[in-house]
Each structure stands twice: as C-alpha cells, then as structure tokens.
C-alpha cells in the first residue's frame, strides 16, 4: 500500500515538473491544425536547388507590379542614368513625410539623417568613407541617385529589394532635397 502511494506521488511530480527547455518548441495540442499543409515560403523543399523553396523570379520575367529598368549595371549605364533619367513622380505625388521616414530607415544609418555622410555607422567607425551628398566629384543627380539605389555602387549594395519603385523615387526626391539643404 505504502509503495503504491510513493510511486503515485513521484509520477504526479514528474508530470508537473515538465522540465521545459527553451531551445525546443513546446508541445502542441493538435499539430495537424497548427502546421500548414501547403508549402511555407522559406520552407525546405528537396525539389529545388539547395533544398530552398524560396526562389528568384525566372530570368527575363517581370513580377506583377514591377516595371522594367532600362539602364544596365555598369559605368556607362550609370552615366546614362545620371544624365537622362528623370523622376516620374509629380510634385503632388511626393509625400515628403513618408520619404523622410524611408530615408531615415534605409539611408540614414550610413549617410546621416542630414545627408552629410555622418550616419551612426560612420560615427562608430564601422563603415568609413561615406561621402556627403554635396561631394563635387560625384555631383549626384536624380538619375544617379535612383540608379545607385537600384544597383548599388562600389561599397554600397543594392537596396532594390527593400524599397519598391515608388519608394525609391520618394527617397530619391528626399535625397535631392537634402542636397539642396546642404548647399545653404
């Protein structure tokens, strides 16, 4: 009789102590309702290269909502864009508050919120040599700014996947505004 009690108590104690390890996910009630039957975006899938379900768009296709960018990623493409490419947004389509918000997120870390090249990463000496938008040698234009956001240049990487076309133009207009503010 006594032994039965003891065993029962030990079992109950084990049941409740449920030593939860934070490195592993917890138990679920009904896993087949929790987990998606369809493929998840970043799921492993042996059908594809590297078992990666997330793929690039097929070469030569343009995703819905995107448009073709005609300048190529080279020095001559840069020069062409710099001289020819114009901002397609009308003045009333440019929401400067939104543009500033986007600029501060994606550009301000390095280029500084005033565009003087004194972003936090520059101040902390993580990334060096970030030019001010006033830099004479570069002499940025709308076209060159858009082109560099799209493809990146030298050390700067492409930001085309973080900003869509409209947002890129918003940021471009804001950069040009910062440049003219710096001139003052």
């Amino acid at each position: 009789m006594k032994i039965v009690y003891k065993i029962l108590i030990i079992i109950i104690a084990l049941f409740f102590s449920s030593c939860k390890n934070n490195e592993y996910p917890n138990y679920e009630y009904m896993p087949n309702m929790y987990e998606s039957i369809g493929y998840d975006t970043y799921e492993e899938n042996t059908l594809f290269e590297n078992s990666q379900a997330a793929l690039n768009p097929i070469e030569g296709t343009i995703p819905r909502g995107y448009s073709l960018y005609q300048y190529e990623d080279s020095n001559s493409g840069y020069e062409l864009a710099k001289n020819n490419l114009q901002n397609p947004l009308r003045d009333d389509e440019i929401n400067m508050t939104k543009a500033k918000e986007l600029y501060d997120i994606y550009c301000g870390v390095c280029h500084g919120n005033k565009g003087d090249g004194q972003g936090i990463l520059m101040k902390r000496e993580k990334i060096l040599g970030i030019p001010s938008y006033l830099d004479q040698g570069r002499d940025i234009t709308e076209g060159s700014v858009y082109h560099v956001i799209y493809y990146g240049r030298n050390t700067m990487g492409s930001h085309a996947n973080q900003l869509n076309e409209n947002e890129r133009w918003l940021v471009t207009s804001y950069v040009m505004k910062l440049k003219s503010d710096l001139k003052k």
């Binding site: 996910p25 138990y27 970043y42 997120i105 936090i120 040698g137």
Partner: protein
C-alpha cells in the same frame, strides 16, 4: 612635424610687427619669406598624418583599406610601390586622384590595367583635394603597420585571474563535500558519546514509543477528507496551468545556424528594424532578410570591433561573419562573389498556428505599432527569443485596450465618426471596430 609651419608663422608675425619699424627689415623679411616658403614647401616632409587619416576616412575608406583589398586596392605604401614597381611619380597620383577617368581615357597603361583588374569600377574624382591634402593622405598611407601586441598579453593574463580558474560548480561541490563530512563527523561523535554513556552505566532517557504520526493522521478521518480535497484542488490548478501553457512558446530561444546578435545590430548600431525586415511595412510577413541585405554592410565590415564579453570573444564574432561569407559565397580575399552559395537554415521563432491570420503591415504601417510592443526589448537580446505568449487571449486583450489610430488616415475617419457616436465614446478601441470578430483572424 608642425614645427616648420610654426616657423613660417613666426616669421610672418615678425614681419607684421616690423612693418612700421624698419623698411629695410621688411624688404629683407619679405624676400626671405617668399624665397623660403615655396622652397620648403616643395621639399616638405612635414605633413600632418592626423589630417591625412581623417581625410582618408572621409574620402577614401569607402573603397580602400590600408592592408586589405576592397573595391579598390590596398593603399599602404602606395606612393613607394608605384614609384618602385611602375615608375610612376607623385604627379601621376595627383592627376589620378583628381580625375581618374581622364587618366584611363588618355590610354595610360597602368591606369587601364588597374581599372580592368578591379572590375572596371570607376574611382570617384576628387578635384576638391589640394596638393597638401593629398600629401597628408599619402603620409598616412606611408605609415608602418602597428601590430597590437600589448592587447593580446593583457587579455590572456587577465582571463584566469578573474576567478582563479575555478568555476562555481567546483566551489559548490567542495562546499557540499565539506558539509557531508561534517554531518558524518557529528554522527560519529554522537555515537561515541552514547557508547561512553553505556559503558559508564549512565541511564539514557528513553522516549516512550508512541503512535507514529502517519498512523494518527490516517485514523483521523476528518483530517484525511480535508487534505484529500486540498490535494485535488491543488492538482487541478496545477493541471490547468500545465495545459494552458501547451502550444505556447513564450521564451522560446532556439540555437540559430549563425549567431546573429540583435543587441549589436539594433541596439549598439541603432539599425532600424525595418532596414532588414523590410517586408514588415508592406506585407503579411516580416520576412527573414535575404543575405544580400547582410552584405550591404558586411561587404565592408569583415571583423568585429565592438565590446566583447567572456562568453563571446572577437574570434567568435569574426567566425560568425565568416559563416555569412561562406553562405553567401563571398570571397573576402578576392573581394568577389564565387557563386557557390548555401542556404542558411534559420530556425523560425514566432510561429502562429496555421488557423490564425496575422498581418504585419496592418499593425506596423496602418496602426503604427512599435515592433517592441510585441517583440519586446529586441535591442537588448544577444540571442533572439519569443517575448510575448502570442496566444489568442493576448491578442484580444491588446485589441480591447488599444485605440484605433485615425490620424492621417482618411480610410478610417468616416467609420470612426459614426461608430464613436453609436458607442458614445471619444476614441474607438480596435475591439469596438470589429477587432474581436472571429472571422477577422480565423477563416
């Protein structure tokens, strides 16, 4: 270094002071000043290395490092190297720095060679740099490399002295052994004393054998009933609590394939959450950033130079950056992509069940909720973990308490006006606008 300049200054002031006193002296000084100044300048080795360093950091460092190939070549001893290997003098460097593309166009052989070698990436022109500026920069690049020896010896010497090479477990173990020995000792002492007493015929007071307490407990039926009820209640409560935490993952902290520290990125370097998780603004998911986003910065940042802890050393962090390079196929030596990539198998932390719909953009862009509201103090997390329970009760609670953000949102202004009249409130909560309807999240 600045001494020569100071001399010029002194001479200049002398000349100003003597202006009135002596005409002859003035002419004489003027003569020496203008004679000596250009002469000393052209042969000047007195350059300002500090100014050179800051000029280098603002203008050149984006593409050049002193000892490492980047977008452009490594620049330590560039002046000597060009002179000895290519026979190009300082004048060539001046023209190159001020307008490199013109030099390339002129058909200069070395210029074209280096242009082709570095993937035809054009160097920006720096017409604004004066001779003195370039001189200073070159002086900075001509410095010998300083190898930090002292640091290493300090760090190795200081590490073991902190805790005498003993971990807490060892100390605890020793203590418990000591207490165990003490207990045995006391028992032995008591035994010996008893033996003495017996041998000396001292009568020890014997306790009367009474009923054992558990038997008395069992015999008392009222007590048994009460404790049985209590036990049942307590175990029911415990069982309820245990079933409630099933399926939730608050505090879930898996080991990731690359040790990515949110503390360093979002905390120390204040990079906005949206920089990497850019899709949170515009889509249902706040996606895992693809590795090209990492490379936006880590193309340049190839080593860790921040503060280190006992657990995470510089070598450890540098190794993690190398893991990134391997995954994305970046050859840091050659500064180019190899094309061989490996997917990084991140472990997803925040998992909503498949039957619940959640949209990030609705919360981030429309409602303007800070990421920290749900994800907690991410900027302090060395290892990312799930901060909120992400249960339905938790969602509902927030929807009951949070007011709808109608400012700058015409979409809501009309319905907000009508509904707030209906409910007779100033500010509508999300719940009052239908935020509790089942179909909003489950369909």
């Amino acid at each position: 270094m600045d001494l020569r300049y100071k001399k010029h200054f002194l001479r200049f002031f002398n000349f100003r002071n003597n202006l009135t006193s002596s005409n002859f002296f003035l002419v004489h000084l003027l003569f020496t000043y203008f004679l000596i100044f250009p002469f000393t300048n052209s042969f000047a080795q007195d350059v300002d290395i500090t100014a050179g360093k800051s000029l280098f950091n603002t203008n050149c460092a984006a593409c050049h490092k002193l000892d490492k190939k980047m977008t452009g070549p490594a620049l330590r001893h560039v002046e000597n190297r060009l002179l000895n290997d290519e026979g190009l003098d300082k004048q060539w460097l001046y023209t190159w720095i001020r307008n490199s593309s013109a030099v390339i166009k002129s058909g200069d052989s070395y210029a074209n060679k280096i242009y082709a070698e570095y993937n035809r990436s054009a160097m920006t022109a720096y017409p604004q740099l004066s001779d003195v500026d370039i001189e200073n920069i070159l002086a900075y690049t001509a410095q010998e490399k300083i190898i930090p020896v002292a640091n290493v010896s300090v760090s190795t010497a200081s590490a073991p002295s902190n805790n005498l090479g003993l971990s807490n477990e060892v100390i605890l173990g020793i203590f418990s052994l000591l207490f165990f020995l003490l207990a045995i000792g006391l028992l032995l002492v008591s035994n010996t004393l008893r033996n003495f007493a017996r041998l000396n015929d001292v009568k020890l007071i014997e306790k009367e054998k009474s009923k054992p307490i558990w038997k008395a407990f069992i015999d008392n039926q009222f007590l048994m009933l009460c404790s049985a009820i209590l036990l049942l209640l307590v175990s029911a409560y415990g069982f309820y609590g245990w079933t409630m935490q099933l399926g939730t993952n608050q505090g879930y902290m898996p080991v990731q394939p690359i040790h990515y520290s949110h503390k360093i990125h979002a905390g120390d370097n204040q990079i906005d959450c949206n920089y990497c998780h850019s899709s949170a603004r515009v889509s249902k998911h706040s996606g895992i950033p693809s590795l090209n986003v990492c490379m936006n910065c880590h193309k340049t940042i190839y080593e860790y130079n921040g503060e280190i802890t006992e657990e995470y050393s510089k070598t450890f962090y540098d190794g993690e950056i190398q893991k990134l390079y391997k995954a994305v196929g970046w050859d840091d030596e050659a500064q180019e992509y190899t094309g061989v990539t490996y997917p990084v198998k991140w472990v997803r932390i925040h998992n909503l069940p498949d039957f619940a719909y959640f949209n990030h953009s609705q919360h981030v862009s429309v409602a303007g909720i800070e990421c920290e509201t749900c994800h907690g103090p991410v900027e302090e997390m060395e290892i990312m973990y799930q901060y909120s329970p992400l249960t339905m009760g938790w969602c509902i609670n927030c929807h009951r308490e949070t007011n709808v953000k109608v400012k700058d949102n015409e979409y809501y202004s009309k319905i907000h006006k009508e509904l707030s009249k209906k409910y007779g409130v100033e500010q509508l909560t999300v719940a009052q606008m239908g935020g509790l309807e089942c179909g909003k999240c489950h369909y």
